[in-house]
Each structure stands twice: as C-alpha cells, then as structure tokens.
Symmetry: C2
Subunit: 265 residues, 2 copies
C-alpha cells in the first residue's frame, strides 16, 4: 500500500490551494476545486475529468455514501490517499468531508429554444451559485456571465451551485459585444427594473427569452438596457424597495418554468 | 456643544455591543440594534422607539440623505454624537455609515385574512432575513418563528430584512402548542416536501393559508407534518434535489401574491 500524503507542503496540496484562492490559476489551468462526497459523486456521474483527487480513507468511510465513493476513487488514476489534516488544508470549507479534487471546466452541449440567463456583474458568489442552481432547476438552457460577475469557478459559487456546473452550460468573462454574437435571435430580452411596467408574470415565457439579472447595488447596466426589449417589474407589497438578486432572478425563472410546464401539459 | 463620545469603553457602546452579540440581552431588554441611514430612517418613520442612538456628525453628513437624517437625530432625546471609531466599535457591519441605535421590539397590529408564514427552525440568519423581506413584499400578514429558528433580532437577520421588522408582525420562540393557539382556523396548512404531489402553483392561495418553511438540512419537522393539510412540491428540472430555504419560500410566496393580485383585479 502506498503511504498517504501527510505533508501540507506537498505539491498536490499547493495546487489545490492555489486553485481555491486564485482566479488566474483556475483560468490558466481551466480547472476548479470540488469538495465533499456529493460534488465528487456528481462529477463522476457527469463524466467530468478529475485530477489531483485527494481522499482520507477512514474519514470518507465514516458514512455509507462515503464508503461507496471510497471504493470508486481508490481505483481512479491520479487519486491519492492523504490525512484528514492534508484534506483540510486543501479545502475551503470549515468541515471537509475527506475528499477534494481538481475538476476540468465542463464543456456541455447547449440545448436550443429555452431561456437564456445573463448575469450582468452579479458580484456576490452566493448569489451567483444560487442563480446557477435555480437556472438548472428551471430548465434554463445556458448561462452567460458578463465581465464583473463573480467567477463561477470560485469556491463559494461552486458550493452554492451544488453541482449545477456539471449539467448547465456556462460561459463567462464575456463582453456585451461577445454576448451579442453568442445570443441567438431571441423573441424577447427582459430586464427587471424599478421602473418596469410589465409584471414578470404577464410576460409569455413560452417564447424564446433572455433574462438579464443585474448587479446587487446598481441593477442592470446601460448596455443591458440598450439590448432589452421589455422592462419587467416584480410587484411588491409593503415598503420593500428591492429584492436580493438571487431571489428576484429565482422568482422570475420559476414563473417562467411554471408557464412552460403548464403550456406543455 | 456637548463633546462627542470618544471612548469605546463608554457604557453606551458596551450596551450596543452586548445587544449585537447576545440573544439573552436582546430578550431581557426587548431591544435590538439597527445600523445605517436607511434602517434608522425607517425606524423613525414607523414610530418605533429608539434609545441609545449614536451618530458621527461629519461621517453622517457626507451624503445628502445622511445630512437630512443628521438634522433629525440631533434633536432626538437620548441621541449622542460620537467619533466614527466609536460607531465602528458599536457596529456589526464592516463599513458602518456613522449611525447606530437600539430599537424597541416593534409591536404591530396583525391584519386578518392573508397568508401566515411559519419558520420551522430555519437556522441561517441570512435565510431568515430574506424570508422576512419576501414576506413583507408578498403581503404576508404575520410571521411565526418556532424555537430553533435564528433570532429575528440578531444583526445578520436585521441586515438582510432591510427594515421589514418595522412593518411586519413577527412572533418568535414559539412552541408548536403555542402556535396552535395563535393560528386562526386557516383553510390550508402547507408544507413543502420532496414527496409532495401538488405543485405549489396548483394550490389556491386566495384562501387563508399557512405556509411552513422548514430547516435547511432536515426540512420540516414531524410537528409540522402533523399539522399540514397539503404537501406541496416545487417541480424542478435537471438533477437539482432541493432549493435553499429562502429561495423555496420566496418562490412560493410570490406565486401566492401573483394569484392574489390576479384574483383581486
């Protein structure tokens, strides 16, 4: 049996730490770090290439699900056993589950004809991750992130998205000019805005549509306004002036999904 | 002119810090801390009693909105000028805006006949605050927090709720037996559940309804299940197993608001 890695100075640990910490390194290597039983399971299921997988055998074997995963990763090329301390050093989470790996940026085929989601400088990683999870749950066909949006491969986004990276086509670092070339001729391009007159539920989401979600503090950009065909409102009671970006985007995308389900049935 | 407070050891600073840090102190004094121009404005507008208000005159006067607020708080009984360092010491936020105060727990009149929201051990303060903001925006008439839910007067909840505390009746620390006595005879009591058969949008939200949102990790409790008349599902595409509690609750409450608006028009 090969000895487990015991030193946090091991080059494998250093690589994982640099991928956690530095957007530049993630970009150069086109890798990101995934942690925990569930994300590694989902990566394996989706066929994404994993490299530099480290696991703590006893820690991993402490749950039934971890045991099953252990049996798989022990035979994986490039996987190495390590101490829980080494795993913790390579992890971004407070309570690591004994497994961490570098995953290649997924390259997924885009389905046609659904809703495309544009993140227009959404800055909070938790919001970006939550919106990715909502996008997958509501059958969005592709997500485009404009420059200024939190890195979708950053650790907090990956954690909040809970595996959506493996199933949802995402493109990022886009300028608006680049986005123009990527977007097909959608029937409608929607923004939400305090001045919007059309309630989001009055839009016909069975048409091909682009939804642009804006920055938390400043809303959508001038470039987004130029491209919008309709300004939506989210009617609100009380004295609430605005919603968190992830809540607003999710409320609209689930309404779109509702309409599309009912329209299909 | 009275000299501004310059010492972070001042008893006023100590009181604010203890209210920020300790649920027990908030309970005993029935107070909570609000920070920033907007929250103090909203507290004054809603008539909530403020005590121990500290403000840094120059910092506050650096914006137009702050200037207007400064003119009001200078004449307030119990308000005192302090240095920005003292305000920072009494604040929970990273970038305080030069004003902080203790506010009495609001006592608000409950409207009849709308939707009642129950938080069943929702633990994340950000989720609780977001749900309060959504509740206000969707015309929920009252929020009940079961024991185990994050303290609604904790600093993170207060920040995320953005003033909903001043307008939305909230009761907390409730046992289920206490809740039974407080809830009127609602037509329906809804929980969401992976096993739920009825999509949330198939429910008739124009009826008087209770929505129970469960704990992030464990979902709704056995006590909530006993009381539920219907189990709802949120239909999801992809491989998404569950949504964040704040997203799930918000999606359902905005659907309820949509139905109630359309039903009224």
């Amino acid at each position: 049996m090969i000895e487990p890695i015991t030193s946090v100075a091991n080059p494998r640990v250093k690589q994982l730490r640099s991928l956690q910490a530095n957007r530049k390194d993630r970009r150069r290597e086109r890798l990101f770090v995934i942690e925990g039983v569930r994300l590694v399971e989902e990566a394996l299921r989706s066929g994404v290439a994993l490299s530099n997988l480290l696991y703590a055998p006893e820690q991993l074997a402490s749950t039934e699900r971890g045991q099953a995963l252990l049996a798989r990763v022990e035979t994986l090329h490039g996987a190495a056993a390590a101490t829980p301390e080494v795993i913790a050093a390579a992890s971004d989470t407070v309570t690591p589950q004994g497994i961490v790996a570098a995953a290649s940026w997924p390259e997924l085929t885009v389905r046609q004809g659904g809703i495309q989601l544009v993140l227009d400088a959404v800055q909070d990683p938790g919001n970006v991750g939550t919106l990715l999870r909502t996008a997958e749950a509501t059958d969005v066909v592709e997500v485009f992130c404009i420059v200024g949006t939190a890195d979708v491969y950053g650790p907090k986004v990956v954690r909040a998205a809970m595996g959506s990276h493996f199933r949802l086509p995402i493109r990022q670092d886009l300028t608006w000019d680049e986005l123009d070339l990527l977007l097909g001729p959608a029937d409608q391009v929607y923004i939400t805005d305090a001045a919007g007159r059309m309630p989001y539920y009055a839009a016909d989401w069975r048409q091909s549509s682009v939804l642009i979600v804006g920055n938390e503090a400043n809303g959508v950009s001038a470039a987004a306004r130029e491209r919008a065909t309709k300004q939506l409102s989210i009617p609100m009671a009380g004295a609430v002036e605005s919603l968190n970006a992830a809540i607003a985007g999710s409320v609209i995308l689930f309404e779109a999904a509702r309409q599309r389900r009912l329209g299909r049935s």
